[in-house]
Subunit: 112 residues, 2 copies
DNA sequence: CAGTTTTTATTAAAAAAATTTAAAAAGATG
DNA sequence: CATCTTTTTAAATTTTTTTAATAAAAACTG
């Protein structure tokens, strides 16, 4: 039976795909996420997350046209599926709930 | 150099520790998280996440007293460190940002 | 009341899945 | 063909899950 869980990194990649829309292809996703995380990522890490998520039905892909610029190899464009979006929202809700269950003092005062 | 990243499941466990405060010990964390995720978890999965996070400095632990009730073995009580709390907040912020970057239409209309 | 069972709990070890890293390959342009 | 943009592949590492073992206390039982 196919695993259906979404990992930490996968979630960030999936959110980025949703944000980028028609520009959601490997290299661009990498750029976008790097700028948000303020941290270098490798191409392969993005690509393997994308592949896993496509297998699990969180997103789909199709090749776009090659652009007329140097090195303009055709891109594989990704898009979230409704299942992917549903899972993203579920995870958001669970975290929101957990956050709201945390006593404020715990975060404001504690020293350690 | 010690890894410093927080996994998906680890994050949920860490949030639960923050929420439970003085009641944050293995079995109780399991109960709480199961009820929130509406899904069965194994004790081992919680415990190994706790151990990893203690190694990475996201939380600390100490044994509590044995309670005077049946099977009341002493508990190992966990607490978040300020580093752990900081990382939790960073992750929350990154996701919040990503969510706000997603065009609303993407989530409201799309069919696939 | 000594031994067994039950309950609450942690610990450990191995298998499975996700992530990272490091190259290699594909396809396009000048 | 040298170079650029992009995807693909493969191996190493880390995280997650599963399964089982161990530990300590209370309750039961003959």
């Amino acid at each position: 039976m196919k695993k259906t869980k979404l990992g930490e990194f996968e979630e960030l990649v999936l959110l980025t795909v949703a944000a980028l829309q028609q520009d959601a292809y490997g290299v661009e996703i990498k750029r976008e996420l790097e700028s948000r995380l303020k941290e270098k990522l490798s191409v392969g890490s993005i690509q393997s997350a994308l592949k896993r998520m496509e297998d699990k039905g969180f997103l789909t892909s199709q090749f776009g046209e090659a652009t007329a610029k140097r090195g303009g190899k055709r891109k594989r464009i990704y898009a979230t599926t409704s299942h992917g979006r549903k899972v993203l929202e579920e995870m958001k809700d669970i975290r929101t709930q957990l956050w709201s269950a945390i006593p404020k003092l715990a975060f404001e005062l504690k020293a350690i």
